[in-house]
């Protein structure tokens, strides 16, 4: 398996992620495009010491951006919504 930090890129802190975590104990991450759900599940469990119930992933195409005359494309990426088992929690900011 790849190192953990290559699979889990970063947590996503957005309005939607915030809503989901409040409603159903879900946390959102940006993850490696090549990682599959099983790898993600293992990585999360290992990194945050929690039990994962399910993983939903989705691919995003990078937005096309223009700077003056030049067109460019941001990298494609993958997002994972990870539902945790009841009683488990991840605190991103580590209070």
């Amino acid at each position: 398996m790849k190192p953990l930090h290559e699979i889990i890129r970063k947590p996503l802190v957005t309005e939607k992620a915030n809503e989901l975590s409040a409603a159903g104990n879900v946390v959102a991450f940006e993850v490696s495009r090549t990682a599959n759900k099983i790898e993600i599940k293992q990585a999360i469990e290992q990194a945050f010491d929690v039990k994962v119930k399910t993983v939903n992933t989705m691919q995003f195409r990078g937005k096309i951006k223009r700077v003056g005359y030049n067109l460019g494309q941001r990298s494609n990426w993958k997002k994972a919504y990870v539902t945790l088992e009841e009683g488990h929690k991840i605190d991103f900011f580590g209070v």
Partner: protein, 438 residues
């Protein structure tokens, strides 16, 4: 709101102000609501940041806002309630942490006017210069007036002397070629004024009208134009005219120029002016002695804020006077720091003096009556040659009247003190006092 006051010294007080817990919570709530409207955080639309995140990210801002607002709201009220007259900006020395549901306490130090009770202010030994108007000083003043009216006239002498003004053409040559800005025609040059390069004027002395001469000299090493500094040059000079200063004769015609009928009248007037100036100067000296003695006899601490204020006033009047002469403080190499350093003792002295006088005014119940002010207004009108009612109108404004009242009271107190003092007449201290004045 709970306030307790502690006296640190004669001039410093410490206030401990406590604000009730529910007021604090309310303020924090309001602050977050306000922040929520404008704060922006990546991943969230404006105004949609959940409260938990808001508290995590914007706590310092909330602390700052709420502390500032609370202090603003309570400090001045506290000062008013406790009847503390702060002479400078109060300093917040310690403010506790702000937590919802808990009381907030902060401490402030303020400078206050010291309570001064003047003592030993009678029987001060003062020296007053005895002044006698002398004919010589009138003559000297007339001489100065004549000089200021001196006019240039074509002289009958042949050769130019030091002090004459010559009209000349000149062209300067550097290594045989004329150089930039080195030539002029009909140039008016006062010999001995030192306005030209050193050596030039000296060599013009002794030349006659229509004379031509090559003046050879070397530019000084520190001359402004680099390419000329330290270089030997030749000036071809043609003298066109020689003029000398002619002072008007001291006679009745001269007197008429100064709005006097005769020379005798002018002399009288000049004498009266000198006498007035001198007695004003002597009065000032006596007052100064008095103030110094008072300050010495009444040692006290004065708040920094009052000294700073006085310094500011001094600086303003000083630069005002300079400006009237077309100068600025910067031209004298002064900046705030230098000024503060050199005038600080003076400012401190003045503040102390004012406080002492104020206290004497209270102790002796020296008050200003309307009659005093009317008299003063009449004096001012007479002095400035302005119609009485204009001056009266000018002092109808409350702030002007207040200033005048203050001044009149000040004068009265000083007069009272001088009357109570032991004044002895002394011989004027040689001539240097007069020199300084002019």
């Amino acid at each position: 709101m709970n306030v307790s006051v502690e006296e640190l010294s004669q001039i410093r007080k410490k206030l401990v102000i406590e604000i009730a817990a529910d007021k604090v919570s309310e303020m924090i709530e309001d602050a977050y609501k306000k922040i929520a409207k404008t704060a922006s955080l990546k991943g969230f639309r404006k105004g949609k940041i959940p409260r938990a995140l808001l508290e995590r990210h914007f706590e310092p801002r909330m602390q700052h806002d709420v502390t500032g607002a609370l202090i603003n709201e309570t400090l001045y009220k506290a000062l008013m309630d406790e009847k503390i007259d702060a002479v400078s900006q109060p300093q917040v020395v310690d403010s506790g942490a702000l937590t919802g549901g808990e009381a907030f306490t902060y401490q402030v130090e303020v400078e206050v006017k010291p309570q001064v009770v003047a003592k030993d202010y009678t029987g001060i030994a003062l020296e007053r210069e005895a002044y006698q108007l002398e004919a010589a000083s009138v003559e000297k003043r007339l001489e100065e007036m004549a000089e200021s009216r001196a006019q240039l006239e074509v002289t009958s002498r042949k050769k130019a002397r030091e002090g004459d003004t010559v009209i000349l053409d000149f062209t300067g040559y550097l290594e045989g070629a004329p150089f930039e800005n080195g030539a002029a025609t009909d140039y008016q040059l006062e010999l001995g004024s030192g306005s030209f390069i050193p050596g030039f004027e000296e060599q013009v002395v002794g030349l006659k009208r229509e004379d031509e001469k090559d003046i050879e000299l070397t530019f000084p090493e520190n001359y402004g134009a680099k390419e000329l500094a330290g270089k030997p040059v030749v000036f071809k000079v043609l003298i066109k005219e020689i003029k000398e200063k002619v002072q008007p004769k001291l006679n009745d015609d001269f007197a008429k120029e100064f709005d006097a009928e005769t020379l005798v009248e002018l002399k009288e007037r000049v004498g009266a002016d000198i006498l007035k100036q001198e007695s004003a100067r002597i009065d000032n000296q006596v007052q100064e002695q008095l103030m110094n003695a008072l300050v010495e006899r009444n040692p006290m601490d004065v708040p920094e804020g009052m000294i700073e204020n006085q310094l500011k006033n001094l600086k303003q009047s000083f630069s005002g006077r300079l400006q009237a002469q077309g100068m600025t403080l910067e031209m004298l190499g002064m900046n705030d720091e230098v000024f503060a350093q050199s005038y600080r003792p003076m400012a401190e002295q003045q503040v102390k003096g004012e406080l002492i006088l104020e206290s004497i005014g209270e102790l002796e119940k020296i008050e200003v009556a309307d009659g005093d002010i009317d008299k003063k207004i009449e004096e001012i009108a007479a002095e400035s040659n302005a119609p009485l009612n204009t001056v009266q109108d000018y002092f109808k404004k409350p702030e002007m009247r207040e200033g005048l009242e203050y001044q009149v009271q000040h004068d009265k107190i000083l007069a009272f003190l001088i009357a109570k003092a032991e004044v002895s007449e002394v011989e004027p201290k040689a001539d240097d006092a007069e020199e300084k004045e002019s």
